[in-house]
Amino acid sequence: MFRELWESFTDALEGLGSVVHFLFRLVVHSPRALLRFSLISQQIFNSGAFSLVIIMLSGLFVGMVLGLQGFQLLQRFGSEESLGVAATIGLVKELGPVVTALLFAGRAGTALASELGLMRATDQISAMEMMAVDPIQRVVVPRFLGGVISMPLLAAIFSVVGIYGAQLIGVQIMGVDAGSFWSQMRSAVGLRDVTEGIVKSLIFGVACSLIAVYQGYYATPTAEGVGRATTSTVVTSAVVILFLDYLITAAFL
């Protein structure tokens, strides 16, 4: 039994090592891939612009819930005016980056993993290697960079839509004064909070895209293998995002 445990432990370590190795390969190839920006731009469109609707809808509803919950809670202390602060801090620092990353893993990460897995399964990647085209540079790096660039932008859009959602509920429906909603927000939210959100979403972007392209690129070339790669993309991304979220929050305190 100890032997099995030990083996599963070394397997996990090996997996982690190969992910890190893969990340290094991606980073090394990135500068040259940046020269062919049209490939990256296409991937920004695929993973970013197509996620826009789900991100904006979720942001709106998350913001509305924050407005409602925050109002109920703050009303007990007679400080409904702090609703803007509560909603904005919550959205910019936590919910924006985290929920965006989770949605991104579900919407774009799965698409990346299954696309690459299917390329692997249908031997397209081997065919590229035969033609002396580096599949990492031609296929993987643009997808990776596209995800990394899209994520902070999506998170920012999520937060802005969320703030307006909170404002919609708090100010229009619950009757919090619009002036104090915004002015208290401005005096309480610092540039540091926004920076924390941006740093978070950048790191989540790297993590999500890396996991997705890694799972897809090294998927078992069968129908079942592609399916499994897609599933484990979502599961691993979710766990890694929440773990990293704790680490970054602790680092910024």
């Binding site: 932008l153 920012a156 401005r186 005096s187």
Partner: protein
């Protein structure tokens, strides 16, 4: 060619939207960057004995209407007073020179802000003028201290007045 054009258009508008959102977050939700744009302003100075937890960026209001913001808080080591620089919107340029500035609290737990009450002078505040009449922040701890001091004092008085009566006497208004 046609396809790549719509594609680039989509990517471009997505990136533009994203950066607009980032810009909004950094300039509109924080106190930073608010003075980059906006109407012309002028600055006046007010010296307070105690500013409490007044912060840079706190609103300055007159009759409840926001007319500017606190630009800078400094300490004058000659007079031992807090020097608060108020950046006011130039639209509100008819504030009499004998107006007074007080520090108030928004709500129960809210932040501090400066309220200006108009005086009756015919001359108006100009850039770099000074508001002479100020009222310090209401500091909760001081008030509690005063209440406690009064309370213990009145209790001691009561005991001195009626040493035989151990029952608490009725409160006098």
């Amino acid at each position: 060619m046609r396809k790549s054009r719509t594609l680039n258009l989509g990517t471009g508008s997505f990136v533009l939207l994203g950066f607009a959102a980032l810009f909004f977050l950094t300039t509109q939700t924080t106190s930073r960057g608010l003075t980059w744009f906006g109407p012309p302003r002028y600055e006046v100075i007010a010296k307070f004995d105690n500013v409490g937890d007044l912060k840079v960026g706190a609103p300055v209001s007159m009759s409840g209407v926001e007319i500017g913001r606190v630009a800078k808080i400094d300490f004058d080591s000659n007079e031992y007073k807090a020097v608060v620089q108020l950046r006011l919107n130039a639209r509100f340029d008819k504030i009499p020179t004998d107006s007074d500035a007080s520090i108030y609290t928004q709500g129960l737990l809210g932040g501090k802000f400066i309220g200006i009450t108009a005086g009756g002078a015919d001359t108006y505040l100009k850039d770099q003028d000074r508001i002479d009449f100020t009222q310090s922040a209401f500091v909760l701890e001081n008030l509690i201290g005063q209440v406690l001091a009064n309370f213990t004092k009145s209790k001691a008085d009561e005991q001195r007045a009626a040493p035989a009566d151990s029952k608490p006497t009725e409160k006098t208004k």
